[in-house]
Each structure stands twice: as structure tokens, then as C-alpha cells.
Amino acid sequence: MSFFPYAVAAWLFIIGLYGIVTSRNFVHLVICLAVLQSSTYVLLLSIGYRVGGTAPVFAAVPVGTLAVDPVVQALMLTDIVVEATVVALLLALALQLHKHANTLDPDKLKALEG
């Protein structure tokens, strides 16, 4: 039971990758990429968690209270905002692709076949 969050992270990764592999629409692919990125958040969060710990903000509680790990939270915070801009960039790429090839289907792109 204590390894359940790790299993959830692995499942999110696999289902996101499955969505990317079997996708028929580039916008659907980009959204599955967002789901795949959220698996890392679950993993990082569960590494730093401590049972009975409080948030690492000491504005109202004294400094010595048991708290969860702040370093992994700092890593996750910037990552979420950066994820949004990367998704925007990928959507702009998908738009340009649609303008030139008139399709959003990865299977129909002849020019990329080796």
C-alpha cells in the first residue's frame, strides 16, 4: 500500500505514452503529452511526502514543526508553468502543420516517412 503512488506515476506514464503512440490527431497527441508530464509530478510529490508533516511554510507555525520536503516542490513549481508554454509551442507547430499539409493525422504525413 505504501508503494501505491509510485504505481500511479508509472500508470500515468504508460497511459500517456499509449495515447501518444496510438494518436490520430496532433492536438490529441499534445494533450496526452501533458498527461505524461504530470506523472513526474506524482512521483516527485510522493518522494518528498512525510506522514503527519505540514506544508513547508512557517508563517503561522513555529520553525521546528515536522514538514514535508520543500526541494521537490520547488522543482515541480517551475515545471508546471514551463509545461504550459511548451504545450503552446507544440500547438503552434501543429497549426503550421495543418496549414501546409491540410491534415492533422500523423499517419497521413508522407513527407516524414523514411
Partner: protein, 258 residues
């Protein structure tokens, strides 16, 4: 490679990933029994060393400030890339002028006017939202918040103007050159504060400003300054992205008559 080949390759790699992941999990402690010393040390000393109460912001902008610099520049480059990709090329503008006559006369193409309730709600909330975003940016080192969160909240304020139907004002706000200047100033400001640390303290991004008293808004030294620079950059970056996505639709709706 056709779909079946892709599926088989995916199942194989998922199996390998699962095996390696389970093998790696053996070294991790069970969830809830965080072992490592780094987080505990930071929780104990950060308030005494830097006079801030939000340890996550202190870690973000001071102890691991160099990583956040890199992340902020990823954001900057993504915004630049998105704006470049969505720019209107010359042949698009010509063809758009030709198609203007036939595409805007169909009655179902015109977007409906927002109702009075929508307009009151959105335009009434713009002011409180801006104040709330600024509050969240400024209090980053005291309570949960900071440049990244507050910046995104600030960037949704022009969106409320768009939803309220005031298209001309929205275009004036978001296409102003001041937005681009603000974004560059935010990104460059972070770099410049780091150089101040190099000149005055001997190491890049060292906290050299006055630390102040714990619990007031100007505590933390360079943490507060970097917070403001990041908030500016994130807000301006998202407004630019929003304008890049909405530019064409905006032109058509403004020209076709409201």
C-alpha cells in the same frame, strides 16, 4: 512503420520500462517516510539564514536560483517560438483580404454579443484580479505564492476583457510594445540581479541585498527582487502568447463589425 509495428514496439518498451522502474523502486523508501537530510536541513535553517517564511520560494530563488534561471529562459524561448510560428505571413494577408467579403456575411459566423450578466461579471472582476495577482507576486516569500503563480494570474486579466466583449480595449492592451519590453525586462532583470551578486558578493546569484525582518514584505533580500522580475516576465509572456493565438480572430471580428 505501420500501426501494428508501433503497437508491438510500444508494448515491448513498456515492459522494459516497468521492469527497470520496479528495480529502481527498491532503493526508495516507502511513501510517507522521507529519509533524506537535505529537506530537513533546509526547513531548519532557511528562516534564520534568509529571513523568509516560505521555504519553497527560498529554495526556488536562492538556494537553487540557477535552476530557476534556466527554467525561466525555457519559458522565454517557448514564448518567442510560439510568437514566431503564429505570425501572419504575407501571402496569408493577401488571401485574407480576398476572402473577407464572403466569409463575414454568413450570419452564423458572427459571434453573439455577450449578455449583460457576462459583461458585468467579467469587467467587474478585472480590477480585483489584477490586485490579487500583484498581491500574490509580492508576498511570495511570506506565504504560498510567488512570481510564477502570480504572473499567470495577472496574465488572465486581459482575457476577462476579451470575454466581456470589449475587443478594441483588449487589442490596445495586449498588442502594446510595452508588453514585449516588460517580458525582456523581467528575463534580463533576473540575469542582472545575478551579476549584482557576482560583483558584490563573489558568487553569481548570491543574496547580497538587505535581508530585513522576518515576516515583512521586504524581507529576503534578492529573493523579493527576483520574485518581482519573474512575475513580470511570466505575466508578459503569457499575454504575448494569448495575443499570438487570438490575433487573426481579433482582426476579423474588429473589421467585420461588432
Amino acid at each position: 512503420m505501420n500501426r501494428r509495428g508501433r503497437m508491438i514496439l510500444f508494448l515491448l518498451s513498456a515492459a522494459v520500462f516497468g521492469g527497470v522502474y520496479l528495480w529502481g523502486l527498491k532503493g526508495l523508501p516507502p511513501v510517507g517516510h522521507y529519509r533524506g537530510p537535505y529537506g530537513d536541513v533546509l526547513n531548519q535553517v532557511a528562516t534564520y539564514e534568509r529571513h523568509v517564511t516560505d521555504i519553497v520560494t527560498a529554495v526556488n530563488f536562492d538556494y537553487r536560483g540557477f535552476d530557476t534561471l534556466g527554467e525561466e529562459f525555457i519559458l522565454f524561448m517557448s514564448v518567442v517560438g510560439g510568437t514566431v510560428l503564429l505570425r501572419r505571413q504575407r501571402e496569408e494577408e493577401k488571401s485574407e483580404h480576398k476572402d473577407q467579403a464572403l466569409s463575414d456575411e454568413s450570419p452564423e459566423r458572427q459571434a453573439p454579443e455577450p449578455s449583460d450578466a457576462t459583461r458585468v461579471l467579467t469587467l467587474g472582476l478585472v480590477g480585483p484580479l489584477v490586485v490579487f495577482g500583484l498581491y500574490m507576486v509580492a508576498h511570495g516569500q511570506l506565504t504560498p505564492g510567488g512570481g510564477f503563480q502570480g504572473g499567470v494570474i495577472l496574465a488572465t486579466a486581459p482575457l476577462l476583457v476579451y470575454l466581456g466583449g470589449d475587443l478594441k480595449k483588449f487589442k490596445q492592451i495586449t498588442s502594446h510594445t510595452l508588453v514585449e519590453v516588460a517580458e525582456a525586462a523581467g528575463a534580463g532583470g533576473y540575469l542582472a540581479i545575478g551579476f549584482a551578486g557576482l560583483i558584490l558578493g563573489g558568487a553569481y546569484l548570491r543574496n547580497v541585498a538587505a535581508l530585513g525582518r522576518t515576516g515583512v514584505i521586504n524581507s529576503g533580500g534578492t529573493i523579493a527582487l527576483i520574485n518581482l522580475a519573474t512575475g513580470l516576465e511570466v505575466a508578459a509572456g503569457f499575454v504575448l502568447l494569448l495575443y499570438a493565438f487570438l490575433e487573426q480572430t481579433l482582426e476579423i471580428r474588429l473589421r467585420g463589425g461588432k
